[in-house]
């Protein structure tokens, strides 16, 4: 099911208008089409409106303006049930007094009219859903007797048992420990592929979003910054915020200036930037964009080297860097003189991004 969001806006009215508290614009003019059967990640820091967007798609919150379509059907005014969505909450929101089986059966028992099912049909569906998330052994347990990961699976089973048109996941991995998180995100990917349900999930963890999404929507303060495939967004961010938000270790940001189609940092010209007018710029280099070069143009003060086996991570400092440290990742085959106080790099041009110093919008160069 294709999901279309048209000019979606959500404004939370000010609680204290008299004291001049402004209204809060949680989501601002969000237009986006989620293709059928894809897994889409809404990514952004907390307070960026990603959860609000998810709740608006679910129907738990009404948009202030804008329309939502499932396929060709306008569902903006429908309740969550009538939209046919499944929602997994951040804290799972399992009914604590019911067993796993009762939890999964609950949405089916509430079906009305033509959708009403017999007990056998309901049980069959519940067990199908349970098998899909591999919890069919735990059907008679209470949620409190399950681990976090198992509770998560129950929540997913409850969300998909109705065979929803759209599956929505709110921070699905944030309550799990690191190891379980890796395992569960693959699991979510598998379940999504097996069911083919169009899925939207919300996360503030860029690694999580990149690893399983077909498409990522990066948001900031209610405004969509960039939409695209994870690799495309990583390789080609439209502004400084997106560049900084994606990638671990984070991108290294510098202040510089373009003079005569050359990028200067301090006194040194470090890169040819054809087609860029003279102006002060902010530029950013991915950690893998550095190459050790004894005669390289970028001279940094070496402070530490972290060995990671396959790679080494070199931590250095530079007077013009905005980030407190510069972290580069270099193949371990390259030998570095650790006793030296400086390290010199040449740069891979496609790993260097230029941004307008004021607007922080991307400046493209050849």
């Amino acid at each position: 099911m294709k999901v279309e969001l048209q000019n979606l806006t959500k404004i939370f009215p000010s609680r204290n208008k008299k004291k001049g508290e402004p209204d809060v614009v949680a989501v601002n003019d969000f237009t986006f089409t989620i293709p059928d059967g894809k897994l889409v990640g809404l990514l952004g820091p907390s307070g960026c409106g990603k959860s609000t967007t998810l709740y608006m798609i679910s129907g738990l919150q009404q948009p202030t303006s804008g329309r939502i379509f499932f396929g060709d059907e306008d569902v903006t005014d429908l309740s969550p049930v009538n939209r046919g969505i499944g929602l997994v909450f951040q804290n799972y929101a399992l009914y604590p007094h019911m067993t796993v089986k009762q939890n999964i059966l609950f949405p089916l028992q509430n079906l009305k009219g033509a959708d009403k099912m017999t007990k056998e049909q309901m049980l069959q569906r519940a067990y199908e859903a349970a098998r899909l998330v591999q919890i069919d052994e735990l059907m008679d347990r209470k949620p409190s007797e399950l681990s976090g990961g198992q509770q998560q699976r129950v929540a997913i089973a409850r969300a998909i048992v109705k065979m929803p048109r759209v599956l929505l996941l709110d921070e699905p991995l944030s309550n799990l420990d690191a190891r379980l998180r890796l395992q569960t995100r693959e699991e979510i990917r598998r379940i999504q592929k097996e069911t083919g349900i169009t899925t939207v999930f919300v996360t503030h963890d860029q690694e999580e979003a990149m690893s399983i999404s077909d498409l990522i929507v990066v948001m900031k303060l209610g405004v969509v910054q960039q939409v695209g495939k994870p690799q495309d967004i990583y390789d080609d961010p439209t502004n400084l915020f997106v560049a900084k938000f994606l990638g671990t270790p984070p991108i290294n940001v510098f202040q510089g200036e373009v003079i005569g189609e050359k990028l200067y940092v301090g006194e040194n010209a470090i890169l040819d930037v054809k087609g860029v007018e003279d102006q002060p710029v902010t530029f950013a280099i991915r950690p893998e964009g550095f190459e050790l070069n004894e005669n390289g143009p970028l001279v940094c003060e070496l402070s530490n080297v972290e060995v990671m086996g396959r790679d080494v991570s070199i931590i250095s400092r530079h007077a013009n860097a905005v980030s407190p440290i510069i972290r580069s990742i270099i193949n371990a085959d390259n030998k570095l003189d650790v006793s030296s106080t400086t390290v010199r790099y040449s740069l891979k041009p496609h790993k260097v991004f230029l941004f307008n110093a004021q607007t922080e919008e991307r400046i493209y160069f050849n």
């Binding site: 969550p80 909450f89 929101a93 949405p107 079906l111």
Partner: protein, 345 residues
């Protein structure tokens, strides 16, 4: 690592430590200066531990004995009125009024359990009992419905003036219950519920005994707080799962608040069982006496100058049994309810 391996490693650790200690001792004994001092101190220390441990054990035992003596005395203080009640119920009237036997706890058993049988022939105990059960169950049920719905509205729904309404409700808790007696009486009398004779008598009496006490602000408050602890997400999840507000109340909120609801039920039932002043004040037809007044009135007949106290005690004993059983089996919930409610029932 398996438990076994851990054990082995731990053992190794301790044995290593032991070896080190030995080394230290050897080092000390080879050290000519102060070595004997050290050894003596070590021995002394060992003795200290033994005496201290002994003292500690003795102290502990004495403490326990003291504690049990105290608890036994207190338990006796609590249970004595009941023992006295049961003892009295087994006496004859003469025995009871005989001054020389006044302080004799154990009766002669001259009456055996005849008092208990006699209660049923001299009074309508069954009727009072039945009246009380009907009033108790009915008022508890109606009160529960009102409490649940009000608490739900205050906890879950959004409507204008909700906070003012709630504050107003709480404010009524500040007024002592006795102050309501006059206004309640006026209300009840104006409705004609004090007229308890004739064909409408029992309905009037029923309304009279239940209506003034259906709404308990305190229970509403208690349940509202309980409802508010249920996470918002459960409500949203239930919305997604297609429930109405009412169904959510029935299937999720009530089961989750069940311990509180049971506490409220028990306290309300106990209240109904023990209530005295209002029924005494307003019940005009002895057919509708509750058990408390029934017991009070039945044995103090005018023609007999000496009320038959032993008989009364026999009746009281029987009436206490249901409450005793309730307490025995539902102790856990009563305690929870009372500790939450701060005793006020």
């Amino acid at each position: 690592m398996s438990e076994l391996e851990k054990d082995v490693i731990q053992n190794e650790d301790t044995s290593n430590a032991a070896v080190e200690n030995e080394n230290v001792e050897i080092a000390q004994s080879t050290n000519p200066v102060g070595s004997t001092e050290n050894l003596v101190q070590g021995v002394m220390h060992e003795q200290d531990i033994k005496t201290v441990a002994k003292k500690q054990t003795v102290g502990k035992i004495l403490g326990q004995i003291g504690l049990y003596v105290f608890l036994t005395i207190m338990a006796f203080v609590v249970i004595f009125p009941f023992i006295w009640m049961i003892a009295t119920s087994l006496k004859s009237v003469d025995e009871y009024y005989d001054a020389s036997l006044e302080l004799v706890l154990f009766p002669s058993f001259a009456r055996d359990f005849k008092n208990y049988a006699e209660v049923f022939t001299t009074t309508d105990l069954e009727m009072y009992f039945l009246n009380t059960v009907i009033i108790g169950i009915a008022s508890t049920l109606m009160s529960l419905v009102i409490t649940i719905l009000s608490a739900f509205a205050l906890a879950r729904l959004e409507f204008k003036g909700k906070n003012i309404l709630f504050a107003g409700l709480l404010a009524t808790m500040m007024i002592p219950g006795e102050l309501f007696t006059i206004t309640n009486y006026k209300t009840v009398a104006d409705f004609g519920w004090t007229n308890q004779f004739g064909s409408m008598g029992w309905i009037n009496s029923f309304f009279n005994l239940t209506m003034p006490f259906l709404v308990s602000v305190f229970y509403i408050y208690l349940l509202k707080q309980n409802f508010m602890q249920i996470p918002e997400e459960l409500y949203l999840a239930a919305k997604v799962d297609g429930t109405t507000d009412f169904k959510y109340l029935l299937r999720v909120m009530i089961p989750l608040a069940l311990p509180t609801l049971i506490s409220i039920t028990i306290l309300k039932m106990m209240g109904a069982w023990n209530t005295y002043m209002w029924p005494k004040l307003t019940t005009t037809n002895s057919d509708y006496y509750l058990i408390t007044i029934g017991l009070r009135e039945a044995f103090s007949s005018v023609d007999n100058q000496q009320p038959d106290i032993p008989l009364q005690m026999a009746a009281v004993t029987m009436v206490s049994i249901p409450l005793f059983l309730v307490f025995l089996f539902l102790r856990k919930y009563i305690m929870k309810g009372v500790s939450r409610s701060g005793i006020k029932g």
